[in-house]
């Protein structure tokens, strides 16, 4: 599948491979990330006369084996580095393939910490579980939560985050009851009934994906447990959820790098916003934002390496390690393992069809509604 076109790079053209899921179970998030990658290339190319980014995109079909094949094919087509990847179980083998080929692989699509703790020298990630956990703990602390029920998917990333969150909350003396659920589950009423009649927790924290949140919120709307807040993680406090499920979202909390409607104060943010709206004719979302940041950092590193003549001498990885700059998701600086040391999420709340940032204090765009439940 072609992105902006495929072929062998010219002297001033930097060929970048995009490996993302555009079909399969991760198609929705993969497509969102791809939008950000495309916008990054557009913004970069308009701002740079010396170097031009050319993208070749391959759909990994949400499958690990296809992800490996995609990376290898992109390398054979002359890609100098890879951006993309979604789902830790897809990213890990794809990153290994990139590492074996000496290619930089940058992503925001996997939060499993084994990705950065397995000794890959050319792997970079701009977000991590710790950043999400920090935001959740911060909000729960502000709410003075005494008891929390955590409902989480047994998929790798949510399960990892839920277990870390559970341990951190217990260490703070919070009573925690965990409810892991199989990703194939469709009826959440038995779980919510347990929360209502057994746990009797003050707050429900959901760690899963969009379909899970909708199922849990619906079950909660039917059974009406006596809780003060329904809090989720990624993919929840988004314009898409506000637009698609207006009846379920009011007062629900979730991690959110952006308020909605999106507002950008920096020049970089405004450039992203304008290009995104021009290309996709819609409001930018967090997936596009992450895709944009990871790719822009890569493009800049490639341009610097090209200027130094080290493009094919591990120069891109070296330049990535030197990254230390403010981006749309905050300051990015990679540690020796390739993980962004500074990542910290914000918490948003659906209010009146908008998403208001309610944590941390310095980033708030409105007042928190607490207690706040969607019924």
């Amino acid at each position: 599948m072609g992105g902006f076109g495929a072929g062998v790079a010219h002297a001033d053209e930097l060929l970048v491979g995009v490996e993302v899921p555009l079909t399969g179970t991760l198609a929705r998030v993969g497509s969102g990330m791809q939008e950000g990658i495309m916008v990054a290339a557009d913004v970069f190319n308009k701002a740079n006369t010396k170097h031009k980014i050319k993208l070749i995109t391959i759909d990994d079909e949400s499958a690990p084996a296809k992800a490996i094949a995609a990376v290898e094919k992109l390398a054979s087509q002359g890609a100098l580095a890879i951006t993309g990847g979604y789902g830790s179980n897809n990213i890990a083998p794809a990153a290994d393939a990139a590492s074996n080929l000496g290619l930089v692989y940058v992503t925001s699509g996997g939060v499993d910490d084994s990705l950065v703790n397995s000794g890959r020298k050319t792997f970079f990630r701009i977000n991590n579980t710790a950043g999400y956990q920090k935001a959740l703990l911060g909000l729960l602390s502000d709410m003075n939560a005494k008891s929390v029920s955590i409902i989480y998917s047994t998929k790798e990333a949510p399960a990892g985050l839920a277990k870390d969150l559970q341990a951190s909350l217990k260490a703070k003396g919070v009573v925690v009851v965990a409810h892991p659920f199989d990703p194939a589950i469709t009826d959440f009423k038995p779980i919510i009934n347990k929360v209502k009649l057994q746990d009797k927790s003050e707050i429900v924290t959901m760690v899963g994906y969009e379909n899970d949140y909708v199922g849990i919120l619906r079950a909660a709307r039917v059974l009406k447990p006596n809780v003060k807040a329904m809090i989720g993680v990624w993919s929840l406090a988004t314009p898409k959820m506000a637009a698609d499920f207006p009846d379920l979202m009011p007062n629900v909390y979730g991690t959110a790098v952006l308020p909605f409607p999106a507002t950008f104060k920096t020049a970089d943010g405004k450039a992203f916003d304008a290009a995104y709206r021009a290309i996709y004719k819609k409001e930018p979302d967090y997936l596009g934002q992450f895709g944009y940041v990871q790719s822009m950092l890569l493009f800049e590193a490639m341009a610097r390496a090209a200027d130094k003549g080290t493009l094919k001498k591990n120069g891109i990885a070296e330049e990535m390690r030197k990254t230390d700059r403010e981006t749309l998701i905050g300051q990015v600086k990679f540690g020796s393992n390739g993980d962004n040391q500074n990542f910290s999420q914000h918490m948003g709340q659906h209010q009146g069809g908008k998403v208001v940032i309610v944590w941390p204090q310095e980033a708030t765009t409105g007042k928190i509604n607490f207690p706040g439940v969607p019924w």
Partner: protein
């Protein structure tokens, strides 16, 4: 604890009803033609997406999408049959491979048309809580549980009382003998597929009304329908309801009494246990398919 278990039994019962509605079409085709239609879940999903389109574009209750969905899904079902009906040898195995491929094509067509976003009804009428004593459910769950019962009774009546229904059973029992009785096997099989399409239509609208849909769930639906069909015993239509309800209750009780992480495991354990004790399923007669 009693309140928890009662609610689990009620949720399981309703969930079982929805499973039965999804499984009926697959059970009919499997029982009457020896064809395992692995694209059945995608047909259900197609109907669900038509319900979504009608609701989002016209603002109508998804229930009103049924006439449109009937036409589209039955047409798709006929197309599936036009391909599957050409299989001459090893129908069970070859239909598996062929319909799997059709399912992949349908999934990608759905993805292309409706994108990968998760969808669910916005109708507050369908989502509203329906409370009877200590039992809580969504109004749509109760509505489609009733639809499921009506469909099962209707299908049973059709197979046992109507001429075409008897013809379907005759062809499934002995294709050559049915031919000698003046029954056109191909036409009869086509009728089976159309009826399966009708069942898939109702199942899809139901799914959209109380669940969450996205392009990849078709496969999960097929697997669930297949488990129920085998658990019920090939050819037993009332058995589908009982097997589906058993499965729904087993899942709900597992969540309530053990862990929600074990839900799928419990349904598979029930499936294997029943097949170990009763290889023909709960209601499958030995040699039913002659």
């Amino acid at each position: 604890m009693t309140e928890l278990i009662l609610q689990a039994l009620y949720s399981g019962l309703l969930q079982g009803g929805s499973y039965a509605l999804i499984a009926l079409g697959l059970a009919l085709v499997f029982g009457s033609m020896n064809v395992i239609n692995l694209a059945h879940g995608e047909l259900v999903l197609l109907s669900a997406y038509i319900a979504y389109t009608v609701e989002s574009k016209l603002g109508w209750n998804p229930v009103f999408s049924i006439p449109v969905a009937l036409v589209v899904v039955c047409l798709a079902s006929v197309i599936v049959y036009s391909v599957v009906g050409r299989i001459k040898k090893n129908r069970e195995i070859n239909s598996l491979i062929l319909t799997y491929g059709i399912g992949v094509i349908l999934t990608n067509a759905i993805l292309l048309i409706w994108k990968a976003d998760v969808r669910s009804t916005g109708s507050s009428w369908l989502q509203e809580a329906f409370v009877v004593g200590p039992f809580y459910s969504m109004r749509s769950e109760v509505l489609f549980f009733a639809v499921s019962i009506v469909m099962i009774v209707g299908l049973w009546w059709w197979l046992s009382r109507s001429w075409y229904g008897r013809a379907v059973r005759a062809v499934s029992s002995n294709r050559d003998a049915a031919k000698l009785m003046g029954i056109d096997p191909r036409y009869t099989e086509l009728v089976s597929f159309v009826v399966a399409g009708i069942l898939a239509t109702f199942a899809g609208v139901a799914l959209f009304s109380y669940g969450v849909i996205s392009p990849e769930v078709g496969n999960t639906l097929t697997v669930k329908a297949f488990i129920i069909t085998v658990l019920a015993g090939i050819g037993s239509i009332p058995g589908v309801l009982i097997a589906a309800v058993l499965l729904g209750i087993a899942e709900a009780l597992t969540v309530t009494l053990a862990s929600s992480a074990l839900q799928e495991l419990s349904s598979m354990a029930l499936f294997l246990l029943v097949l170990f004790i009763m290889p023909n399923g709960l209601f499958g007669a030995k040699g039913r398919r002659g």
